[in-house]
């Protein structure tokens, strides 16, 4: 199998979308274009019960072919890297499943193989997970209620790059936030292999009560396209020269 690039959107939010298109539909669209959408719902550490609207977290991830998790701030770092890796395995397994179907017939999937063969397939999936290239677009909800959580988010994202950069494959990250007064999303960090510069990127301002998750996701989808078009011209010889700003 060819070594490919996995594309993921990681959405970090703490509430329900309330403006624009349905994010669940947009996530399905993204998934259809080969982008996995993972969603993490962040709770306050003193929040005793799940607030209304967080079911959306699960629905978006499901239709985006990704993984979802609702966590307290405290567990954010470990969750972010786990969700990302889990989604990678899931996607790669999906790819392998497709291949299996082609070879062994429509009904044959990973789960239906005898354990021994499953073990061999899993080794292939693991190899792919270690070596494939990965692009993660982090989309952070920076609406008012998220503001106090942003320092934890920063920490978790730095931790994510630590985990992913331990792999042999290449990684590229970019960070966007929403809502924004003029555009659906605002670029905080351009595509970069490391998240070292992350401490400087988050804006201090809170942007009121609207949460247009759908439009933000849609705009995020196009960032992959833009980049590869841009990338194919600029990075023909030195694919990982660019480090953002």
């Amino acid at each position: 199998m060819k070594k490919g690039t996995l594309k993921q959107i990681l959405l970090l939010t703490d509430g329900c979308s309330n403006q624009g298109e349905d994010p669940v539909a947009v996530a399905a669209l993204a998934n259809n274009q080969g982008i996995t959408v993972n969603v993490i719902g962040v709770l306050d550490d003193d929040q005793s019960e799940q607030p209304d609207g967080l079911e959306e977290v699960e629905a978006i991830a499901m239709s985006g072919g990704g993984v979802s998790q609702i966590v307290y701030q405290k567990a954010l770092s470990q969750t972010v890297q786990m969700v990302t890796k889990q989604a990678m395995t899931q996607t790669l397994q999906g790819v392998v499943n497709q291949e299996l179907k082609q070879i062994l017939g429509e009904k044959q999937t990973f789960e239906e193989l005898p354990p021994d063969q499953r073990g061999e397939v899993m080794e292939v999936v693991e190899d792919l997970g270690e070596t494939c290239d990965l692009e993660v677009l982090v989309l952070v909800d920076t609406s008012a209620s998220m503001t106090p959580k942003l320092s934890t988010v920063k920490e978790a994202l730095f931790d994510l790059s630590l985990s992913l950069n331990a792999r042999s494959g290449n990684n590229r990250f970019s960070i966007f936030c929403f809502p924004n007064k003029i555009k659906p999303i605002q670029k905080l960090m351009d595509w970069t292999p490391e998240l070292d510069g992350i401490s400087k990127v988050f804006p201090k301002l809170a942007s009121g009560g609207i949460t247009p998750t759908g439009p933000a996701l849609k705009e995020a989808m196009y960032q992959f396209g833009k980049k590869s078009l841009f990338g194919s011209m600029k990075h023909a010889s030195e694919p990982y020269e660019e480090t953002g700003y």
Partner: protein, 318 residues
């Protein structure tokens, strides 16, 4: 997630439930739940009067990954690393849902902390030495244990032997650590990467020692490096091990063998041992002993043996 709903079906299997393999047809009777991890539940089971541990889960890929690791360990000649693998199969519940599982040897033992409770200080060192012996074997085979923590250690008796259980984090050297727990992760403490190398495990081992010393895990705070250093200084039990632990933190050990050698010579050196044990009587001597670094102790040994060798040689030649 859908997984969470189906997982509930296997988290509380009743005593007496029969799990029958879809592929091999082997039957196991559930006795009781032993524990629950991120990717599955472990039950004590019985088959033909023999007890075994059965791990059942919903995530087929993770269960199979663990099976792969256990299989690799079976191939290793001689020493046994981790519990031995007995069976791998799927169970189709009466409702028609399929759950993957594997069966392994049931290790009856006590947690490290409760084993050490009430025992002399020397036991911590002995247990760590045993752990290093297993790690050495593992590292030689090209693996890193990864998720090394007190939950994954068990002391079986008699004789007391520290065993590694739960191989979920075991990773091939050079790859990204598969699974880790923050408290034991050197990345979390800003002491290095999450790439699997032998020193990753050695760092986790020092954290096991710290957890044992304090009886619990602690937060890293705003300055992780300083927090660690402080915790080490304030743990009297760890005093004799300080130079060793600090060397691990500084990345001074590339292989478990080197650390094992240092720990072993420290534990078996009578002068230092006395010094560590007899706190009040021989303060000055203890300080002296601590100042002597392992490197210089080694140099002395080499020096003496060279002289001895020369001496013998000259006698023979003469």
């Amino acid at each position: 997630m859908q997984v969470n709903h189906t997982k509930k079906l296997v988290t509380n299997l009743k005593r007496g439930t029969i799990i029958r393999g879809k592929w091999n047809g082997t039957k196991y009777q559930v006795i009781q739940k032993l524990g629950e991890g991120a990717c599955g539940v472990v039950y004590l089971c019985e088959r033909n009067g023999v007890q075994a541990a059965l791990k059942i889960g919903t995530d087929s890929s993770r269960i199979i990954t663990e099976v792969n690791v256990l299989k690799t360990f079976q191939k290793v000649q001689g020493k046994r690393l981790g519990p031995s693998l007995l069976d791998v199969d799927d169970w189709v519940t009466p409702d028609g849902i399929t759950f993957p599982y594997y069966v392994m040897e049931y290790l009856r033992g006590t947690e490290l902390a409760s084993f050490l409770r009430g025992k002399g200080k020397e036991w911590l060192g002995v247990m760590m030495l045993q752990l290093l012996t297993d790690l050495e074997e593992l590292h030689d085979q090209g693996w890193v244990f990864g998720d090394l923590k007190t939950d994954n250690l068990l002391v079986t008796t008699p004789p007391p032997k520290l065993r590694l259980i739960d191989v979920g984090g075991t990773t091939q050297t050079g790859r990204a650590i598969k699974e880790y727990t923050e408290f034991y992760d050197r990345g979390y403490w800003q002491r290095g990467s999450r790439k699997a190398d032998p020193s990753y495990d050695l760092f986790a081992l020092t954290m096991v020692m710290l957890e044992i010393a304090y009886g619990s895990r602690f937060e890293r705070g705003a300055q992780p490096k300083q927090t660690l250093e402080k915790k080490l200084q304030h743990a009297p039990v760890l005093k004799p091990y300080r130079p060793l632990i600090q060397k691990v933190w500084a990345g001074g050990y590339g292989h478990s063998r080197e650390m094992k050698r240092d720990l072993s010579s420290m534990l078996s050196s009578p002068a230092k041992y006395k010094a560590a044990e007899m706190k009040n009587t021989r303060v000055s001597r203890r300080k002296e002993a601590e100042k002597t670094s392992f490197a210089s102790a080694e140099a002395i040994v080499i020096f003496i043996s060279v002289i001895l060798f020369y001496f013998l040689y000259s006698i023979v030649a003469w």
